[in-house]
Symmetry: C2
Subunit: 113 residues, 2 copies
């Protein structure tokens, strides 16, 4: 079995998992136009420091964002613009689907019918 392929699928899944959270997507969206300090994001996203830090750690571990320290502050930036591109395409699809009548997704609900 192609363990190389399997490894790539696993890696791909890890990246998707890292993006599979609204807060982290919001963070990426924030970083789209340039780097931001943690402090700034805490304020603009209205999150607790610990919580944001954890989400940033997830993105960092997957190599989706990179950091730079400057004195007390740590600045986060997108590590690869292509990832933003992939996000943008998905977003585009979702907007289209919403526009087409939004008969697409049921946010939660794995329950009875």
């Amino acid at each position: 079995m192609s363990s190389t392929e399997d490894r790539l699928f696993a890696l791909h899944a890890e990246v998707c998992k890292a993006m599979a959270n609204p807060i982290r997507l919001k963070v990426l969206s924030t970083l789209q136009h340039g780097e931001q300090s943690v402090e700034a994001m805490v304020k603009s996203l209205k999150l607790r420091k610990a919580n944001l830090s954890q989400h940033l750690a997830v993105l960092r571990q997957r190599g989706i964002v990179a950091t730079r320290r400057e004195g007390l502050h740590i600045y986060y930036r997108c590590a690869n613009p292509k990832m933003l591109k992939a996000c943008a395409i998905l977003r585009e699809v979702l907007l289209e689907q919403l526009a087409e009548g939004g008969r697409l997704i049921n946010p939660v609900n794995r329950g009875r019918k």
Copy 2:
């Protein structure tokens, strides 16, 4: 706060979550070149029916795949080629990163299968 934006982030996260699994990515990869019956995928992916079915349900619920019934068999296909495009871009990035010295996660097995 733009609850519409938040909704979109949530939706986006749902889609990412649906893709955040190696098996489901493998399924999508399989469907890249055309529709497939569940039976065929059970065989080619070497999975239990119930398990594959669960994964297919996740993809179905998020509108990532669509189905067509023909007699006993149900054929799955990709619902939107753009989603495949987004996947392809991510894959491309990951391959680049692996090539760049694989200082990403676990460098292993650069050989043939």
